[in-house]
């Protein structure tokens, strides 16, 4: 059970080599297969997640949530997906057509690219990049451009304002996000995510870096544009933010990308702070799934508990509280490390 997926991959490579392909091409084909798997996982995850989101919101609000289609309403999202697929695709005439049409595609591509470096089990990683964490953060920063494209392309004031808000928020919160993760990197001594997981063999970094964890969690919520930081889509003021003009499948792509980002950020959280795929008994890929889902449940729990924050509060919170706190944590970690080395405990 532990090595199911790695064994399958190995068998595939062996089979391709047997067909007469060189090792490099076999790896290339394997890469493509892995990408396809990731896309599949993402899609299935999103279907489960949207159902879960609606159920969790219902439970928190003392409601039942969807319960008509299938057991506990499990097929609700499938019905929604079918409906969104068959909706009319409106492209308003005054839009910047190419930007409008390609923005959701870029968004989803960027979101799926995040998965390349996340270790989904022992040795189950598409690319074991030596700067994996930096890769995650920098690719994640590209999604701001996609949102800006969506906002600009729509030629709609709500879209533009929503996109501006989203970009301002995401750029502001990227800095505390990155700096809070640096503390973990300092302790682990590597930017390679598999190294960071291995470094948590004895103790999870959430215990060594509690401040960094809290900062990361808050910044990640803002990065994902989720409640209570969902200012870019604030329905009361901005209709649907940057997505106002998007219909049917294009809008669904945005939705898909948002939930994809949610999974990616939660998986990174599990990897950085909760020991990644390490855990007793169960196979490693199951452990990361469990941890990721628990973290996502906390994200949902927060979203349905807290009211939305005002935009200026949001920005001042990032620059005046979160950034100094994460910087202080960085300095503290540095001193702590030196202290431990000096004492000879490290």
């Amino acid at each position: 059970m532990e090595h199911w997926f790695t064994d399958i991959a190995q068998a595939l490579v062996n089979w391709l080599m047997g067909l007469g392909l060189s090792a490099g091409w076999a790896d290339f084909v394997l890469l493509i297969v892995q990408w396809l798997c990731i896309v599949m996982i993402v899609t299935i995850n999103v279907i489960i997640l949207i159902w879960l989101e609606r159920k969790v919101s219902g439970f928190i609000q003392l409601r039942l949530g969807p319960n008509r289609l299938g057991p506990y309403g499990a097929f609700q999202t499938i019905a929604d997906a079918i409906k969104l697929l068959t909706k009319e695709d409106i492209i308003p005439s005054r839009t910047d057509k190419w930007i409008f049409m390609t923005a959701p595609l870029f968004f989803i591509v960027v979101s799926v690219m995040l998965y390349a470096v996340i270790p989904m089990g022992d040795g189950m990683q598409v690319v074991d990049f030596n700067v994996g964490l930096l890769y995650f953060i920098s690719i994640g920063s590209l999604s701001t451009i996609c949102l800006l494209m969506a906002g600009w392309g729509s030629n709609n004031k709500w879209s533009m304002l929503g996109a501006m808000r989203a970009v301002a928020q995401m750029i502001s919160y990227e800095i505390p996000l990155a700096i809070s993760l640096l503390g973990v990197v300092m302790i682990a001594g590597s930017l390679r995510l598999s190294d960071i997981v291995v470094a948590q063999g004895n103790i999870w970094f959430v215990l060594l870096q509690p401040i960094a964890f809290i900062t990361y969690f808050i910044a990640a919520t803002a990065e994902l544009n989720r409640g209570p930081f969902d200012m870019p889509e604030a329905e009361q003021e901005l209709t649907a933010g940057a997505y106002t003009e998007y219909t049917g499948m294009r809008w669904a792509l945005f939705f898909l990308a948002e939930y994809t980002n949610l999974v990616a950020v939660s998986a990174l959280c599990a990897t950085m702070f909760f020991g990644g795929w390490q855990g007793p008994g169960l196979p490693s890929w199951l452990w990361i799934i469990i941890k990721t889902y628990l973290i996502m449940l906390v994200f949902m729990w927060m979203k349905w508990t807290f009211p939305r924050i005002r935009m200026d509060h949001l920005m001042s919170f990032s620059w005046k509280i979160l950034l100094p706190v994460s910087l202080a944590n960085l300095v503290l970690t540095g001193f702590g490390l030196e202290f431990f080395k000096w004492m000879g405990w490290w």
Binding site: R68, G73, I78, D80, I82, K83, T86, K87, D89, G248
Partner: protein, 163 residues
Amino acid sequence: MVLKQQADDDLEMMEKNGIIVTTLEKIWNWGRAHSFWPLSYGCNCCPIEMMAAGASRFDIARYGYEVFRASPRQADLLVVAGPITVKMAPAVQRIYEQMPSPKWVLAMGNCATSGGPFRDGYSVLPGADSLFKVDVFVPGCPPRPEALFHGLLELKQKVMGKK
């Protein structure tokens, strides 16, 4: 006619042998009928009942219709709740036209159905069906949330083609 007869015979044969035959249209309609996303639009007291329908006691989410969208581009169902004044009519018309098809309209309450008490007024339209085709009328002043649900379920039957 002959071909149709043959197709029907084939269908019967397949059903007998345990092969489920369906058309894409049926699957699509199934999807559409189970996820009306209403536009959050309303005028006066009917929207209050609509809000109540979304709240815990009545819980519109059980049918999967709780995703109130603020943008008409993502909505499937226009719940016209409240009287359409002459000044509001162009806005409602525009909202309706901005919704992507397939779209449905539910006239909630008597003002939207017929103009209600204002039917002879100079400033109110006598019913939403003077602007566009309305699929389901839910009379009431205002209708209970359950009455709204009844209208939605009727609409579901209509979309799935059972009536």
